[in-house]
């Protein structure tokens, strides 16, 4: 039976999942989504200098075309019944080795559709913005080539229908991220940050490889259809193991504790990259992975608890780090870690939280891309300055950037009716329904978020001018402000729209993720009010510290917590002490041992033989008869050896 048939027959029989149909008509063109940006990347990277002038247009056109295809497919999907929106698009058989068969085919369902729209939509806006941002970079064509490569890989990641195919996209986005973090690789810091990101991600990849290897042991396949259909009969121990392996992979890609250290350094990349890859899309791939594997996590309670713990720890860590950073991009990066922590936490809650994780993922994609591009716009006008202590009072000089950034700010701290209010509130509610400690973590995180974001807002746009002497801040060109306005608009309406429009995202995702309602321990109104109060309190503290008082141009020493937060809560120090230093020591001593020990033994033995042979040379008499005797003796030895061997 070929995989496609198997996929269908298995999926058709499991009641918890909607049936997957083989795509026909419009849906069979789903591959275009990936092919278009991939074509763009190939043209831009192999096309050479000829495309230096028009390359950015090719890059934008292919991604926008991909978005148009996505929009058409979305409308077509709306036309199908609620439980009949999953389509399988078989492309080609990848390989069959020793009975392990993998087919390259795409799965377009409600979950992947949501991601496809986010990736191509936000991706298009950021491509357009980059035309302006990268205008004076001599390697702009290559930049767009890498960006296109990223979009193609990310789309493959969310459209794959087999974990091993997902892994191609997973590594593809990792490569694009490596290339783009290190885009200005003449700077050693950028080159080091790029390598660090890749290596830390590879630690996560160990989890991915072991997860798929475990699936082979348990299910004999890595296709979604077979794995998800088999979970009910699988031993819980294996499901927990697979869940934990997947979580390790997710921690790497999504910069979750304990693999968070690379994300802050990744800010070395050009700001549009930080917006697209390190805020809106790639870093959320870990959340996608867990939600996609719902069938596994639903039945793996221990793994799910681990997901919740990782999410809760990271959401607090990221928020605390964000409070102490003076570099605007690093403050936002800490915030990204923290917000993804929220998503992870929600995903760890199981069917009660999957949809909210995705909901927050999408609104976060809107407002965080908005904030990063806003930060890029500020840098563009301030000679690439990133230190917020050298900003201040930019409101008047950059009115559009200020207005859109302010919308993003209100959205992320969760003021109604902006997008973040709806999505974060849902997660906080679900967290309280799970347990008091988890709920309090989420609530506390909201307060800290309000603090650090208010701090960013005050230090950048309000207060007094602390600009460098040669700074002449100016508003960015329209090609950069229009994407900001579009993302600003999405940050306003995205939350309510997704939650309420036509049944909302929860109903939309229900056939994929399931749905479950918990009873809240306290009335909803009380919870919402206390969340709002916490948020306002956080903002008020920031106002007391940074709004009412002038911001010093040189950072004060700060209390121990501030110092720790500035140093990323010693994440790098721990890695250095636990892995890097011992690793370097081990490597060095092995290199030494190799020359003295392993090779030394053998060269020593050879020398000894050499010494012996000098002595034995005297036996070389030149007489044939003595040679014949020696040969006879030798042959005798061989025969004796043979006889010995044959004896039992």
């Amino acid at each position: 039976m070929n995989t496609t048939l198997l996929t269908q027959s298995v999926a058709a029989q499991t009641e918890t999942h909607q049936a997957v149909r083989e795509a026909s008509g419009l849906f069979s063109g789903t591959w275009l989504l990936i092919a278009l940006p991939l074509l763009g990347a190939a043209l831009l990277l192999l096309g050479g200098r000829r495309l230096d002038r028009t390359g950015h247009l090719v890059g934008c056109a292919t991604v926008i075309a991909s978005f148009v295809v996505a929009a058409v497919l979305f409308v077509a999907m709306l036309g199908e019944g609620s439980g009949e929106r999953a389509f399988l698009i078989p492309l080609w058989e990848w390989f069959n080795a020793g009975g392990y068969e993998v087919e390259i085919s795409l799965l377009l369902d409600q979950l992947s559709m949501a991601f496809v729209l986010l990736i191509t939509g936000v991706g298009s806006l950021i491509h357009v913005y980059s035309i302006g941002y990268m205008e004076h970079d001599e390697r702009r064509r290559r930049f767009f080539g890498y960006l296109n490569l990223f979009v193609a890989a990310m789309l493959l990641l969310v459209l794959a229908s087999d974990f091993l195919v997902l892994f191609i996209g997973w590594e593809g986005v990792g490569l694009a991220s490596y290339l783009l973090i290190g885009f200005w690789q003449h700077k050693p810091s950028a080159a080091v940050a790029a390598k660090k990101a890749f290596v830390v991600n590879r630690v996560g990849d160990m989890g991915m490889v072991l997860a798929v290897a475990s699936m082979l042991v348990v299910f004999g396949s890595s296709s979604y259809a077979v794995v998800f259909a088999g979970t009910e009969n699988a031993p819980v121990g294996w499901l927990n193991a697979i869940g934990l392996f997947l979580l390790l992979a997710a921690c790497g890609k999504s910069a979750q504790f304990p693999l968070q250290s690379w994300l802050l350094d990744a800010m070395e990349g050009p700001t549009p990259v930080s917006a697209l890859i390190h805020a809106a899309t790639m870093v959320t791939a870990g959340v996608y992975l867990i939600v996609r594997s719902a069938a596994i996590f639903d039945l793996a309670p221990e793994a799910r608890t681990a997901v919740v713990v990782v999410g809760a720890v990271t959401l607090l860590m990221g928020a605390i780090i964000g409070c102490a950073k003076d570099d605007i991009k690093k403050a936002l990066a800490g915030s990204t870690m923290s917000q993804i922590g929220y998503m992870m936490l929600a995903a760890g809650l199981g069917p009660a939280g999957y949809a909210f994780a995705i909901f927050h993922l999408i609104t976060h994609g809107f407002f965080k891309a908005n904030l990063f591009l806003g930060a890029g716009s500020v840098m563009h006008g301030m000679n690439d300055e990133v230190d917020m202590r050298r900003f201040g009072a930019l409101r008047a000089a950059m009115p559009v950037t200020f207005a859109t950034f302010a919308i993003g700010y209100l959205a992320i701290i969760g003021i109604p009716p902006f997008a973040g209010f709806f999505s974060k509130d849902q997660i906080i509610e679900a967290a309280f329904a799970e347990g008091l400690v988890v709920g309090l973590c989420a609530l506390l995180g909201a307060g800290i978020t309000a603090f650090y974001m208010t701090r960013v807002m005050l230090m950048t746009f309000l207060g007094s001018k602390r600009w460098a002497e040669e700074a002449h801040p100016h508003e960015s060109p329209r090609v950069m402000t229009w994407p900001l306005i579009a993302l600003g608009a999405l940050s306003v309406v995205g939350g309510a729209g997704l939650l309420y429009l036509g049944g909302g995202i929860v109903d939309w995702l229900e056939p994929v993720t399931g749905e479950e309602h918990h009873d809240l321990p306290v009335p909803l109104a009380v919870l919402m009010t206390s969340t709002l109060i916490t948020v306002l309190a956080g903002a008020a503290v920031a106002w007391l510290l940074y709004g009412r008082r002038p911001v010093p141009e040189v950072a004060p020493r700060g209390n121990p917590l501030t110092v720790a937060a500035r140093r990323d809560l010693y994440g790098d120090a721990v890695n250095e002490g636990l892995f890097m230093r011992p690793g370097q020591y081990l490597t060095r001593s092995l290199v030494y041992a190799e020359s003295r020990g392993v090779d030394g033994t053998i060269v020593g033995a050879a020398k000894a033989v050499g010494g012996l042979s000098t002595r034995w040379r005297r036996w070389q008499t030149g007489f044939v008869r003595s040679y014949a005797l020696t040969m006879l003796a030798g042959a005798g030895l061989v025969v004796i050896a043979m006889l010995l061997v044959r004896l039992p």
């Binding site: 198997l6 027959s9 298995v10 058709a12 029989q13 499991t14 080609w92 990848w94 390989f95 069959n96 080795a97 020793g98 009975g99 392990y100 091993l164 892994f167 191609i168 590594e171 490569l175 690789q185 003449h186 700077k187 050693p188 950028a190 080091v192 790029a194 390598k195 290596v199 590879r202 990849d205 160990m206 490889v209 072991l210 798929v212 290897a213 475990s214 082979l216 042991v217 348990v218 299910f219 004999g220 077979v226 259909a229 088999g230 009969n233 699988a234 294996w238 690793g583 081990l586 490597t587 092995l590 190799e594 392993v598 053998i602 061989v638 050896a641 043979m642 061997v645 044959r646 039992p648």
Partner: protein
């Protein structure tokens, strides 16, 4: 009589070697052209041979058998199976590429290039014979004979320590070979005892050798193959040879010639001595895992580009040996596929490193830096070759490495988990090397680094294109290999356990509802 395709496949490069050697002195360019032409012709014949290979056909196809020494039952016997086909393909593709890459190497050392190119073809002929030989003594003869051209290639054309490296290579391998000779004779004695003296593989595989005898004979074979492959702790000749041989020579050595060692393990040692292979498998698995981690750690610690790539090969050979001695179809297919991919990836790494060394006249990593700026194509090609070294999907190396890890995890959980550490270390040695050589500010002495020239592009482009194409469409190659692996492991009593949850059960169960 049908056309002797396999003999032709061997005769073409052998004839090429002779004719190239006969080119008059001083006509170096003609010698190079002749060698390249014959290498390409060999590739043509190889394509014709592989095109005739039938999946699901006889185990050994296109068989030829002529009596060589009747009294001892020695034959010129050739045949090709799926494993052989994959490796013949590798050798045939690699040789012209290597020939083109080593174009200026002899000139740089101010030596006559003629012998270099003639020896390359001679080694190719011997290596092809090893992949096709269906007579144990024939295999043994070419296994040893190929040391001669390789010895001279290293010893005549390499770096300052070339003599030492060449001698170490030779002594090491001859030592292994002699032990193997004793074992070869031992197998023959077994056939005498069985009343049918023969060196033909088909006859020898049918023998019923006692478990104890199998163990000794297996060890004799394995020592030779473990030195050749090389496996920790028999590996120390490789870094020296890799560092001292010219870059293309090193590429050919670890990319193609060393595959005879791993080929011997899967195509001879395992099917001839299935019981012993099973007995020793856990020990070899441990050595293989040590090789993976040890090679990778040593690669991280190197300061010399070519030594670094040499240690990378040791780590990768660890994966190949691991896949073979998991003794399941999936592992062996992954390992054989790995041999092909490792060949292509290693050749790419060595020849590009060679291009860099030709420009800068230094093997030391510390002398490089910032090359990306003056030579972006060179840097890009080096990065892609490096990424294939760290097994990034969808490059071909990924699939083979994953299959080996998955097969290992299925049989030996701990070994499987430790082997995955190799993928993290691989990222470190590849990307750190790239960082140190290609990125950062451009030092003055590197500012004028030339980008890839036309000949160099012709060397690199097909390699990288193949690595990508095989990764995206691996099906045919994997099917051919899988076809050869099944009968090879037929006598081995290791089964992949069925999946814990069987899908067919689910389908049946579903129908009951």
């Amino acid at each position: 009589m049908t056309f002797p395709w396999l003999t032709t496949l061997i005769a073409v490069p052998a004839l090429g070697a002779v004719l190239t050697a006969l080119v008059p002195a001083g006509r170096g360019r003609l010698a190079k052209q002749s060698a390249l032409a014959f290498a390409l012709l060999t590739l043509g014949v190889a394509v014709a041979v592989i095109a005739q290979f039938e999946i699901g056909g006889d185990r050994y196809q296109l068989g030829e058998q002529y009596t060589w020494i009747d009294a001892l039952g020695i034959h010129w016997a050739l045949g090709i199976d799926g494993i052989g086909a994959a490796l013949v393909g590798l050798a045939a593709v690699a040789t012209p590429i290597v020939a083109l890459a080593m174009w200026p190497e002899a000139d740089a050392e101010r030596r006559d290039p003629k012998p270099f190119f003639a020896l390359l073809l001679a080694s190719e002929a011997l290596i092809l014979t090893a992949f096709l030989a269906k007579d144990l003594l024939l295999f043994y003869v070419v296994f040893e004979a190929m040391l001669i051209p390789l010895y001279f290639m290293i010893g005549m054309y390499g770096g300052p320590q070339r003599r030492y490296a060449a001698l170490k290579f030779l002594l090491y391998n001859i030592f292994g070979g002699l032990v193997m000779l004793a074992a070869v004779i031992g197998v023959y004695v077994q056939s005498i005892d069985a009343g049918a003296p023969s060196f033909l593989l088909m006859d020898l595989m049918a023998l019923d050798i006692s478990a104890n005898a199998q163990r000794w004979l297996f060890l004799g074979f394995m020592l030779a193959f473990a030195i050749k492959a090389p496996l920790w702790p028999f590996h120390t000749w490789l870094p020296d040879a890799a560092a001292e041989a010219t870059p293309s020579n090193a590429a050919f050595l670890s990319g193609v010639a060393d595959k005879v060692g791993t080929f011997g393990m899967i195509a001879l040692a395992v099917p001839l001595f299935p019981v012993a292979a099973q007995d020793f498998a856990p020990v070899i698995v441990v050595l293989a895992v040590v090789s993976i981690v040890y090679g990778a750690l040593l690669a991280i610690g190197q300061t010399d580009i070519k030594r670094l790539i040499g240690y990378v090969s040791i780590s990768h050979f660890g994966f190949i040996v691991l896949g073979i001695f998991v003794l399941t179809g999936r592992g062996a297919t992954g390992a054989t596929f790995y041999m092909v991919n490792h060949g292509l990836a290693t050749i790419a790494l060595f020849v590009i490193a060679g291009f860099m060394i030709a420009r800068r006249q230094s093997r030391m990593i510390a002398d490089y830096g910032g090359i990306q700026k003056p030579a972006p194509k060179l840097a890009g090609a080096f990065l892609i070759a490096g990424l294939s070294g760290l097994a990034l999907p969808p490059l071909a190396t990924f699939l083979s490495e994953f299959l080996v890890i998955a097969a290992t995890f299925e049989q030996y959980r701990a070994a499987g988990v430790i082997a995955t550490v190799g993928i993290v270390l691989a990222a470190l040695y590849v990307l750190w090397l790239y960082q140190r050589t290609m990125t950062g500010p451009v030092p003055e002495e590197n500012a004028g680094t030339r980008d890839l020239g036309r000949r160099e592009t012709m060397v690199v482009a097909p390699l990288l294109a193949l690595i990508l194409a095989i990764g995206v469409f691996p099906r045919t190659v994997v099917d051919v290999i899988d076809d050869g692996v099944a009968p090879t492991l037929a006598e081995v009593d290791v089964e992949s356990p069925p999946p814990v949850v069987s899908v067919t059960d689910l389908v049946v169960e579903g129908n009951d509802h």
